[in-house]
């Protein structure tokens, strides 16, 4: 059997380029999807890819060839390396050329890739079947999706660097409706192992929310005091993170651009006490601890592959502290090198309490469940438009008194980080729109005094 390590070593050995990086990614995924209290699709998938970054030195600079291919045998890797070397030799100098990352072999380099299994699904399926039974007898319908994935990354470079990382990722989302579809509620959770999911607990929470919706209240568009739960805050924070390219900001293209030139790094962009950060070693959010890029962009570079990632504050005490910056972008912008990290945490000094605690202390407010289909309207202010879904509730006198119609909103996450009046404690969260792709987040509940509900949506 050809192991990922063999593929890496073989590729590095046969490469005729001046320098080379090889990345092998093995993934194993299992999923179940359901609707109307019955399973609809499922899957057990394996995938494997090899990326070869060939670098050829020249008088004008280093040229690069980057190819990614499904390859599982030494022969396939040989063809891939030959093509990548050829592409590099035919290419002009790469704009982001930089010395490859130095290093040695990590302690777990020799370990085989991790895998998930059918048994993982079967255990979850058993609990799910019981939830279907309860829903049928309770006059409810369940819709949802659960996935478990284990992706193992092997990165080797001609400098001697050998890195391995195994990333387990699991997540579940469940939507509940009465049989006439007159209301909708959603709960979701991100985990490392599906055994950490409490299916009964999720089902119980759905029942509670559908009861809230037994009374309905129509409200017009307008600005409302609103509680954004950790799920909705995660959605907004992720968007603010993803548009955080240092080079884009330096070129005047984002909310992080200084209108007088350069970036807003060092400037107050949020209330004091606000911290937006990433840390590959964060407990419960452990993520890839080294830079990984199979293509260069304004925020990342294939030359940075293997660069160690450390804890990074993007916003510290309300001031913009760092932006997504490769070594190349750092040279262009005078920003520190701070590549992307695959997790995100938002916290507020003094933030305390759960969603239920903030509900209990509310006189009159709207409680959202989640935001959906939000897209950028104005990159300069990061004005986003989007929709509320699967539960907008009216809170009066510290209690939920009914469900409200959905709204279209127009808001900027950066503005909200300036306008919130109260924050809860940061907790593990699962973004509704982006969670399937970015599940490792921790965020608080935020109270917004004047959330802009631009128009009413008939969706229920």
């Amino acid at each position: 059997m050809t192991t990922p390590q063999h593929l890496v070593e073989h590729a590095l050995e046969i490469s005729t380029a001046d320098h080379c990086v090889v990345i092998v990614r093995e993934s194993s995924t299992a999923n179940l999807r359901w609707a109307n209290n019955t399973l609809t699709t499922n899957g057990l998938m394996s995938a494997s890819s090899v990326t070869v970054v060939s670098l050829v030195d020249g008088s004008a600079g280093s040229a690069v060839g980057v190819l990614t291919r499904s390859a599982t045998t030494a022969g396939q890797v040989e063809a891939l390396v030959a093509e990548a070397d050829e592409v590099a030799r035919a290419a002009g100098p790469a704009e982001d050329a930089a010395p490859l990352v130095e290093g040695s072999e990590s302690a777990d380099w020799g370990s085989l890739p991790g895998r998930t299994s059918l048994e993982v699904l079967q255990r979850f399926g058993s609990s799910l079947g019981q939830a279907f039974d309860r829903s049928r007898s309770g006059g409810r319908l369940l819709f949802g999706y659960v996935e478990h994935d284990v992706t193992t990354t092997y990165l080797g470079a001609s400098t001697g660097l050998r890195l391995r990382h195994e990333q387990p990722t699991g997540h579940v989302g469940v939507t509940g409706k009465p049989t006439d579809w007159s209301a909708s509620a959603w709960v979701g959770q991100a985990v490392e192992q599906l055994s950490d999911i409490d299916v009964d607990g999720l089902d119980t929470e759905l029942v509670r929310r559908l009861r809230w919706a037994e009374r309905t209240v129509d409200l017009p568009a307008g600005r409302y005091e609103t509680l954004l739960p950790p799920t909705a805050v995660a959605d907004l924070a992720i968007y603010a993170y993803w548009v955080g390219s240092g080079r884009d900001a330096h070129d005047g293209q984002t909310v992080y651009s200084d209108p007088s030139g350069g970036t807003k790094v060092g400037q107050q962009i949020a209330r004091s006490g606000v911290r937006l950060s990433s840390d590959p070693a964060a407990p419960g959010l452990a993520a890839l601890p080294f830079a990984l890029a199979t293509a260069s962009s304004s925020a990342e570079s294939v030359f940075d592959n293997g660069l160690p990632l450390g804890a990074t504050d993007w916003i510290r005490d309300g001031k913009l502290n760092a932006l997504l910056t490769s070594r190349h972008a750092g040279r262009l912008t005078n920003l520190s090198t701070t590549p992307a990290i695959d997790n995100l945490s938002l916290s507020v000094d003094g933030g305390a309490g759960s969603v239920d605690d903030l509900i209990a202390s509310s006189e009159q407010t709207l409680l959202l469940t989640c935001l959906w289909y939000f897209r950028e309207v104005d990159p300069q202010t990061l004005l986003l438009t989007g929709i509320t879904r699967d539960g907008v509730y009216l809170v009066e006198g510290g209690e939920v008194v009914g469900a409200v119609n959905n709204f279209r909103f127009n808001e900027s996450p950066i503005d909200l980080l300036n306008r919130f009046t109260e924050a809860g404690q940061t907790q593990r969260s699962f973004s509704r729109e982006w969670g399937d792709y970015f599940p490792r987040t921790a965020t608080p509940t935020l109270r917004i005094p004047d959330f802009n509900m631009s128009s009413v949506s008939q969706a229920s």
Binding site: N37, N42, V66, V377, Q458
Partner: protein, 514 residues
């Protein structure tokens, strides 16, 4: 089932199917999978092997940032065992691997069976043996040297950077070649190849006195074409690139729009996206049935409305198709083995059809699927995806200028930008690349900060006229997202220019509280 007339094999002048893909033992691997599935008495089995080759060229201010290439080869097996689906996918297409993955699919189906409440059955479809289909293009983008492709984009970037008022230029070209081989236990086997390309150039500038920074992007749509799209006579690149700096300068200096209600004339380069979101997705039967309730959402266009829901005005005639030449969703056979077709979705403003696959067609008691099953990779299960959903033009010659002439106080919208719609496809908001003021039937200069907001049936009900054939264009996108696990699909939408009365226009600066 007997063989059936269906999309034709390629004419001699058509491009050749990827020889590396054809060199794989496709039929042998398929028979291995299907025979193994029969061993377990599967009611249905299909085998699919795909090669998906993609390249993205990215230039920033003329400097090459990325020319990386991705080349995925994998296979999958889907079975129905005792009324339950099972799906498994793997890499390394050897006989042993195919047997192993087939057995996994069987095991998944058996594991799923206890929580499947509805027996899976498929609508009938004729068998199509040994069919070959290739999309209509001239130059395989992967046959063109990277240096040549980059050279063209560098020249365009330099020309744009040299123009007054242009501070930065980005150029991105995405290219895809997709090979699919499909075979099932009912006797269908198809070998197909599609090529598509998506070029975008965007210029950035600033008005330092007003503190305004903005951009202007090309409106050339992605297309089911090859590299000839960038070098031939299909699109007037020289003309479009030459006008970008001036359009940007005008936008930077433009007054902010007054929020209110306006008549709109919408160019196909913008209207396609409104069609996509408010008609394309709303007429997907899987959404109507709740399959997407936990993710992409459902649809207001419920089954009870079929044949009577007044979706829009009498000018609204919409078709679904997977057959239009250069359409991004066009193909000969779908991933259920169904020959592709064209059909009505909305006729004279009334909902008359949906997009479906074999499973849903059977559930509905319909004779046949209209061929909308698609998986975006060998690692994903086929789901119902969007056909090319298009509005028919007026039979009468009507130019965009003719439509503008019917407006006293309105806006002319060109190019897409921001978009969003709710999860039942009622409430939407769109912006554009440029909004031009219309006064007394004539175009004035641009305004900025405009977005149009509406509710689907009200908006299409306000469609007062459509342009003729001469205004009809095929636009589209590479990146339509749907399903869990997430899948992307490329899809085209054809439409004429169209006139809408009394539409809500927002000022986005005011919406942002500034």
């Amino acid at each position: 089932m007997p063989s059936h007339p269906a999309p034709s094999n390629p004419a001699p002048s058509k491009p050749e199917i990827d020889p590396e893909f054809q060199a794989l033992p496709l039929a042998k691997l398929a028979q291995t999978a299907l025979n193994r599935a029969r061993d377990f008495e599967a009611e249905h089995a299909d085998f699919r092997i795909e090669r998906l080759r993609t390249q993205r060229l990215t230039l920033r201010d003329g400097g090459l940032l990325d020319a990386s290439e991705d080349d995925t080869l994998g296979f999958c097996v889907r079975v129905i065992v005792d009324g339950a689906w099972g799906f498994a996918a793997g890499v390394g297409p050897t006989t042993d691997a195919v047997v192993r993955v087939t057995e996994q699919a069987i095991s998944v189906a058996r594991a799923a069976r206890p929580i499947v409440a509805e027996r899976i059955e498929l609508a009938d479809e004729p068998a199509y043996a040994d069919r070959v289909w290739v999309s209509d293009y001239e130059v395989d983008p992967f046959s063109v040297p990277v240096a040549e492709k980059v050279g063209l984009l560098q020249q365009w970037s330099r020309d744009l950077l040299a123009a007054n008022g242009v501070d930065h230029v980005s150029a991105v070209v995405r290219q895809v070649r997709e090979n699919k081989f499909y075979a099932d236990t009912h006797g269908t086997s198809t070998l197909q190849q599609r090529v598509r390309i998506d070029p975008e150039l965007e210029v950035y500038g600033a008005d330092s006195k007003r503190g305004v920074i903005d951009s202007m992007r090309t409106t050339a749509p992605p297309a089911g074409r090859g590299w000839e799209y960038l070098t031939g006579a299909v699109h007037d690149w020289a003309g479009e690139l030459a006008e970008l700096p001036e359009l940007l300068a005008e936008k930077l200096a433009a007054p902010s729009v007054d929020a209110g209600r306006y008549d709109l004339v919408i160019h196909p380069s913008n209207l396609w996206l409104t069609i996509h979101e408010s008609i394309g997705h709303a007429t997907e039967l899987d959404r109507v049935l709740g399959y997407e309730a936990n993710y992409a959402g459902t649809s207001f266009a419920k089954l009870a409305g079929l044949g009577n829901l007044q979706y829009g005005s009498r000018h609204l005639n919409v078709t679904g198709d997977r057959t239009v030449t250069h359409g991004l969703a066009s193909i000969g056979y779908d991933d259920d083995g169904v020959a592709t077709q064209e059909w009505d979705l909305i006729k004279d403003g009334v909902l008359v059809g949906y997009q479906t696959d074999r499973r849903m067609a059977k559930m509905m008691g319909w004779d046949r699927s209209n061929g909308c099953a698609y998986a975006d990779s060998p690692g994903h299960v086929p789901i119902q995806r969007m056909a090319n959903v298009s509005i028919r033009p007026s039979p009468d010659p009507t130019s965009t200028s003719d439509l503008i002439a019917q407006v006293d106080d309105g806006l002319y919208v060109v190019g897409d930008r921001s978009w969003s719609i709710d999860m039942q496809r009622y409430n939407f908001q769109f912006t554009g690349q440029r909004f031009f003021e219309i006064k007394n039937g004539e175009l004035r200069g641009q305004v900025r900060d405009a977005a149009y907001q509406g509710t689907t049936t009200e908006f299409w009900g306000a469609m007062d006229a459509v342009g003729g054939e001469e205004t009809w264009m095929l636009n589209g996108a590479f990146n339509c997202g749907k399903a869990q696990p997430g899948q992307v699909a490329a899809v085209s939408h054809g439409c004429p220019s169209a006139l809408f009365r009394d539409i809500s226009i927002l000022n986005t600066t005011a919406e942002g509280g500034r």
